[in-house]
Amino acid sequence: MSPKPPLEVTIETRSLGQDDAAVIRAKGEIDLATAERLAAALASPACANENGLLLDLTEVGFIDSSGLRVVMVAMRDFPRLGVVFAEGSPVERLFELAQMLDRVPCFRSEEEAIAALMDGHP
């Protein structure tokens, strides 16, 4: 509704050695109005299901169940997934409340996540 989207989504490809990982960075607020953009990024050609996917939510200041849903869809569709967010962040709080914290492949930094994704596929 406001002129400037309160959520910015960028996609970048990073090498995992043998194959690639798409890095999706979200910055701003993920709610009903903006979650579709994040979902669209997941469905973009840059994100191949067999490759790795890194969802960086470090700069998300607000997330509600619409955002939770997108992350769950990513968990379902991308076997090699890393979700990055900070300790005590709104993202962590929501995952905790939604019983998802022990299910989400969670990392504290993109580097940590990349390292883990490479370990999974040497």
């Binding site: 406001s2 009903l32 619409s66 968990m75 409340l97 019983q99």
Partner: protein
């Protein structure tokens, strides 16, 4: 008596003219005035050029003091010059003023030399004078023109351009008065004037472009008008024969820049006067500079206006998209309008019984807003009025009142108080524009100016109509949306239990609060199922919004209810629900809190599938979170099991289930929101209905963006 020495001096001084020598004929034929005067400043000789220049004949002036041709503001100058000559000096090309026999001031350049006798004694002075009036005049006009050019070169304020050209033209030609008229439609309107005696210009504030008067003719023909006498004026403009003419000569020049003239400047002279070539050239050139400057200023102004309009439209567009409440939209629109395009603005909408309802009134002066509202209330618009808003609504056509005079106000006033209010508010120009969307007129916007400088014209109407079109569309959309919103709310409510079952041993209350208009309806729901010694309470949230989410919610609810009535435990029922949700591709993610209470044992088992914890107030007042985990949101992930947790709920316990809308705030940790609800629950009354009512009251204002469902159950034993 004249002494012999004096006699000799006089003969020396007059020698040239009586002599037939070559020198004498040179003096006689010279174009310059050649004069001799004695030591006492008495004129002793006077050549024909001097006669032509000063108007005095030789016979008249010889023997009289030279001070006759010195104007009052140069008095004494002749003596000073003579003193220098007697001291043996010469005076070269001294520029000064002299006065002619008929009182004209002329400019002269003087060269004065001493005349000596054979012994070398100075007996007088010769003066050679050249009339430099014309030369000086053309220099002055050239300098003035240069001044006009440089002052107007970058001037963008039309008022200053008019002031400069008027001042300089009046001063340049020594006019007694001057005026500028600008074309406005088929009229000429006075835009500036100076020098007229009281009331002398009153008849000319505004006149028709086709009137037979000098200014109109100059504008229509594009040619200057020069008249040297009142008689010539009335001969050429018979229509002026009976007019009050306060002047004798007149110069009128049209102002045009490329196209046809858009203005004229008029100079009036009390004395009869000819206009020489240089003066005409000066006026033509100066007015051309002014015309160019005005043209440039107007272009700049219209560009500025068009840029401002674009800005306003952008601002309004944003404002219109910000709200979905028609009245809010219109109030903000009125405020924006008085900020940019009007001094006051009134917006009226047709209401359900076809009357006019005043929705918004705004005024640049906040104190005048009340006055404007009073005007509307005390003198309501008559729907049968042949003009104004009712007429605009009937015809769908804008009404433009470019100029509203006091007479028009008197005419329109219903009584003296009405007139007084209108005068206080100020009404000098107005336009009433229809609010029309999809072919239907729904009301009007009245834009009113109280500043005489602001006169609405066709381009303002175009802009106002553009503004009104956008506003009308936004209002229509808001109305449409509000109908859709109502439909979704209705569906949502129809899918929720119409009433809660009566169950012995517990008291139940539930509430569904839809999101405010402007936000979509969500998929929050609740359910109560009673079956042989147990009661199941459930609350859930389906991701997504609108009618689709409401429909999915309905299916989940009936599926769960069927499992419960089949006797499935909470964990089992939730596991099954997850599987059927994942089998239906159109299903969404859902969170659920589901609890079975054994009414005899006062013990409960619950599953929390990704849902916020429920809160339980124990009989001693302690509030605990039912936060047992293990089950994620349903509908997406594989291998979800409903993990059960047990809790004791002795009589006096109060259970509260809710959806995330109650605890979710931007810029705030969810846990803080949860803590707030815990505190409120600790203070709430012991019965389910009372507790729920109080919680709803406490949190209603804070939950506009999301819908909220709540279910309370008190164990009564």
């Amino acid at each position: 008596m004249i002494t012999p020495a004096e006699q000799r001096a006089v003969s020396l001084l007059t020698l040239e003219l009586e002599d037939s020598s070559r020198l004498a004929s040179l003096v006689r034929d010279s174009d310059d005035a050649i004069i001799t005067k004695d030591r006492e400043a008495v004129v002793r000789s006077w050549n024909p050029a001097a006669e032509r220049m000063y108007g005095w004949s030789m016979e008249e002036i010889v023997g009289r003091p030279i001070s006759i041709i010195i104007p009052p503001h140069r008095a004494g100058e002749d003596r000073q010059i003579l003193d220098r000559i007697l001291a043996g000096e010469r005076v070269h090309h001294y520029e000064t003023d002299r006065i002619t026999k008929d009182g004209r001031i002329i400019m002269v350049s003087l060269t004065v030399s001493p005349i000596r006798d054979e012994l070398g004694e100075i007996v007088g002075a010769s003066v050679i004078a050249r009339d430099i009036t014309a030369r000086h005049r053309s220099e002055e006009l050239a300098a003035r023109l240069q001044g006009v050019t440089s002052r107007l070169a970058k001037e963008l304020d039309p008022d200053i351009v008019l002031e400069v050209i008027l001042d300089q033209a009046v001063a340049g030609l020594g006019a007694d008065a001057g005026a500028v008229g600008m074309v406005e439609g088929d009229q000429v309107v006075l835009a500036g004037h100076g020098g007229y005696s009281d009331g002398g210009i009153d008849d000319w504030e505004r006149f028709a472009l086709d009137a037979d008067v000098p200014m109109a003719r100059a504008i229509v023909t594009g040619e200057p008008v020069w008249t040297t006498s009142a008689q010539e004026l009335t001969e050429r403009f018979p229509g002026l024969a009976n007019a009050r003419i306060m002047f004798t000569s007149l110069a009128v020049l049209p102002l045009a820049a490329g196209g046809s003239p858009f203005a004229a400047i008029s100079l009036s002279f009390n004395q009869r006067r000819e206009f020489d070539t240089e003066e005409r050239a000066f006026l033509v050139a100066a007015t051309q500079q002014a015309a160019n400057a005005l043209d440039r200023a107007q272009r700049y102004e219209s560009q500025r206006i068009s840029e401002q309009r674009q800005r306003v439209l952008g601002e309004v567009g944003e404002l219109l998209s910000r709200s979905l409440d028609p009245d809010t939209i219109l109030v903000q629109l009125a405020e924006t309008a008085v900020h940019y395009v009007a001094d006051w603005c009134a917006i009226d909408l047709i209401d359900d019984d076809q009357g006019l309802r005043s929705v918004a009134v705004a005024h640049v002066d906040p104190e005048a807003v009340e006055l404007a509202k009073e005007l509307r209330n005390r003198y309501p618009v008559d729907p049968e009025d042949p003009t104004g808003s009712p007429n605009v609504i009937r015809t769908g056509e804008t009404e433009l009142y470019s100029v509203i005079t006091d007479e028009m106000l008197v005419e329109a006033a219903q009584d003296s108080e009405h007139l007084e209010i209108m005068r206080k508010l100020g009404l000098t120009s107005a336009m009433i524009v229809p609010l029309r969307a999809r072919g239907r007129v729904m009301g009007t916007i009245s834009l009113i100016a109280s500043d005489p400088e602001r006169r609405y014209d066709e381009s303002d109407v175009e802009f106002a109509e553009d503004l009104a079109r956008r506003a009308a569309l936004a209002i229509d959309n808001a109305r449409l949306f509000s109908r859709e919103h109502e439909a979704a709310v209705m569906l949502q409510r129809s899918l929720l239990p119409q009433s809660l079952p009566e169950v012995a041993g517990v008291e139940l209350a539930a509430l569904y609060e839809p999101a405010a208009p402007g936000w979509e309806v969500g998929g929050d729901w609740y359910e109560v199922t009673a079956d042989e010694g147990t009661v199941s309470v459930t609350i859930g949230d389906v991701a997504g919004r609108g009618i689709k989410a409401a429909a999915i919610m309905g299916r989940i609810r009936s599926a769960l209810r069927a499992y419960v009535l089949d006797g499935h435990t909470p964990g089992d029922a939730i596991g099954r629900l997850d599987r059927i949700m994942r089998e239906s591709p159109e299903m969404e993610m859902a969170t659920i809190f589901h609890l079975d209470l054994d009414l005899a044992a006062h013990s409960a088992r619950y599953v929390r599938a990704g849902h916020p914890p429920a809160l339980l107030r124990l009989p001693d007042g302690e509030v605990v979170r039912l936060a047992g985990g293990g089950t994620p949101p349903l509908g997406i992930l594989q291998g979800v099991e409903g993990v059960e947790h047990e809790v004791s709920m002795p009589p006096g316990s109060l259970l509260l289930l809710f959806t995330d809308g109650l605890i979710e705030r931007r810029n705030e940790d969810l846990i803080i929101g949860l803590g707030r609800v815990e505190e409120a629950l600790a203070q709430a009354p012991g019965d389910a209905k009372g507790a729920l009512a109080e919680l709803a009251n406490a949190f209603r204002d804070e939950m506009p963006g999301d819908d909220v469902a709540m279910l309370a159950m008190a164990v009564v034993g």
